[in-house]
């Protein structure tokens, strides 16, 4: 939105009013302090309940649990983490999710392209696709618990087509993909809306020119849309990854509880279990710190890769 767009209210010429004079005389000190007073609540809350806990948590991850409560133990917690099969499963699952990431970004990207190109019904699709994104993971998980049950409706439909029943949430090789699929179902509308906002900044004459030159749809996507939306694509990659790493707790909690055979652990679920069930807060803090590092690495790596790809294009 250009700053000049909003009309500037026309004010009468300033006349020295008693009220104004008082305000200005009371001025200097309170006026100098005003900005600080205005930001104070936000700063206090964020420092006290976000930054301070972050420092505490990192510090805490170098202390012990149980008998060694509060004692410095160096890197012991991190060694324990790396040896813990549960945490390893969690890391393996992070790897799987990273591999799924391009799909989770491409689907909303393509759909946004078609909506932008005014596929019949595009107005309705925008609203419909976004709708699961407003539902809580808990509700989504509960609904899919019903649908994906072994004797549930989804398998019933598959049976009609002649496909055998799949134990979506009970088979250790399948469950994590089922949960990730449900997550993508629930959140692709979010990325879609972000893509559409990116399209609003794309110069439509470029696409028209490509069409006049006889470019096919895939060619237009590759040479016009992708380079034109580099920033949006970067943003969606990073936010989708953050979503996969930090907003699947509700689904896991409701759909699998980490099972079957502990195959659907993710770092966030591991932290929750260590803190809540096993009462090992220091170990949980170490896992938190590890998750933070993973997110930093993934974020930086993605930005690096995409930036290089952007330059080549």
């Amino acid at each position: 939105m250009p700053p000049g767009a909003a009309p500037t209210p026309v004010r009468p010429a300033p006349t020295p009013q008693p009220l104004g004079a008082v305000a200005r005389r009371r001025g200097p000190r309170t006026e100098l302090l005003a900005p600080f007073v205005l930001v104070a609540p936000a700063v206090l809350i964020i420092v006290g309940l976000r930054l301070w806990p972050l420092v505490l948590g990192i510090n805490f991850s170098f202390t012990g649990d149980g008998d060694r409560n509060g004692m410095p133990v160096g890197l012991d917690n991190y060694v324990t983490l790396l040896g813990d099969p549960l945490f390893r499963t969690a890391l393996r699952n992070v790897g799987l999710l990273v591999l799924l990431l391009p799909v989770a970004v491409a689907i909303p990207g393509l759909l946004a392209t078609f909506i932008y190109l005014r596929t019949p019904g595009h107005r309705v699709y925008r609203a419909v696709y976004f709708f699961p994104a407003v539902l809580s993971p808990v509700i989504v998980g509960a609904i899919f618990n019903l649908l994906l049950a072994y004797d549930g409706p989804f398998n019933e439909v598959l049976a009609v087509v002649g496909l055998g029943p799949v134990d979506w949430l009970g088979d250790p090789d399948v469950a994590i993909f089922a949960v990730a699929g449900v997550h993508v179902w629930a959140t692709f509308g979010m990325a879609l809306v972000v893509f559409l906002a990116g399209f609003a900044n794309l110069d439509p004459s470029l696409l028209d020119a490509a069409r006049v030159d006889g470019a096919s749809l895939p060619q237009s996507i590759r040479h016009v849309i992708v380079p034109g939306l580099t920033r949006t694509i970067q943003f969606v990659f990073v936010t989708t990854m953050i979503g996969l790493l930090t907003s699947m707790f509700g689904l896991l909690f409701v759909m699998t509880g980490g099972g079957p055979e502990a195959s659907t652990y993710l770092p966030e679920y591991y932290i929750w279990v260590q803190q809540g069930q096993f009462n090992q807060p220091a170990l949980a803090s170490a896992a938190s710190t590890a998750l933070f590092l993973i997110m930093l690495l993934v974020g930086l790596a993605q930005i690096g890769v995409l930036r290089r790809a952007g330059r080549e294009g």
Partner: protein, 275 residues
């Protein structure tokens, strides 16, 4: 030209199928909620011949959904009110007042945006426990405010940056203090952004389960989403009542979405285009 129209329709069919796949799970759940247990076991897909509201009624009363619903409503209302107040105050100061360290402070808020809750959940619970705030409404409200404040400050700052500086200057010349400008000019001018950010925050808080589980452990303090998670164990053999509970929890969000779709989408995309 004909070929182009043809491809358009080839795309339109999978898109329609996907739209159906997006809506159907909830329609299915709503239909199940209207069935008797017998009807559900016999045929999952058929429309229930007569809507049975008694499932809804029993989810509402005997499961305690009404209590959970009230808990959620109170916590979400207080959290959103505080978020909008603190967020708009800080946003105005960062966008339109010059003071020492303002840009460093803005970067600090941005950095706080990238600390996921999972990373601080153990120490945060300890900090809250240390101040006696665990298992209290103020504790949960504070946890939500802390969680969503960086995002709120960020969006309010970028919104207030689009308000022309002349507006602020004119109000100052009229004799307003900084607080007067905030209260009389910026707050009313910020309404469109406040609605958008407020609705998003309300959804975030209403839909959360992890923070609520940690900060409000006892049963009578459960929020609605925590209540839904406990439905599964209790009603695993009575699917229609289970579905009713899920439906009751989803309906407020659906109503909000129906009326405020634009504002929600605007809030989501504002985060992307301004970042």
């Amino acid at each position: 030209m004909a070929g182009r129209r043809w491809t358009r329709w080839v795309v339109a069919i999978p898109m329609a199928a996907l739209a159906l796949a997006t809506v159907y799970p909830l329609v299915f759940t709503a239909n199940v909620a209207m069935k008797t247990r017998r009807e559900y076991v016999l045929d999952r897909f058929s429309l229930s011949d007569a809507p049975r509201w008694d499932n809804i009624a029993s989810a509402w009363t005997s499961v305690g959904m009404s209590r959970y619903f009230l808990n959620s409503a109170v916590v979400v209302t207080c959290s959103v009110a505080l978020l909008l107040l603190f967020g708009s105050m800080a946003g105005f100061a960062l966008a339109r007042l010059r003071f020492r360290g303002s840009s460093a402070l803005y970067l600090g808020f941005l950095a706080a945006l990238f600390i996921p809750f999972q990373v601080i959940m153990v120490p945060l619970t300890r900090v809250l426990a240390g101040t006696g705030l665990v298992d209290t409404y103020p504790g949960l409200v504070l946890a939500y405010v802390a969680q969503f404040l960086p995002f709120t400050v960020f969006l309010m700052t970028s919104y207030y940056s689009t308000v022309p500086a002349e507006v602020v200057d004119a109000a100052r010349i009229d004799g307003n203090t900084a607080f007067g400008v905030y209260w009389r000019i910026m707050l009313p001018m910020g309404v469109p952004a406040l609605i958008s950010v407020g609705v998003l925050n309300a959804l975030f808080c209403w839909n959360d389960v992890l923070i609520a589980l940690l900060v409000m452990p006892s049963a009578e303090h459960r929020t609605l989403m925590v209540g839904v998670t406990s439905l599964r164990g209790q009603y695993s053999d009575d699917i229609p009542v289970f579905a009713s509970g899920v439906l009751v929890a989803a309906v407020p969000v659906l109503v909000v979405y129906l009326f405020l779709q634009r504002q929600i989408a605007d809030g989501v995309s504002a985060g992307a285009t301004k970042g």
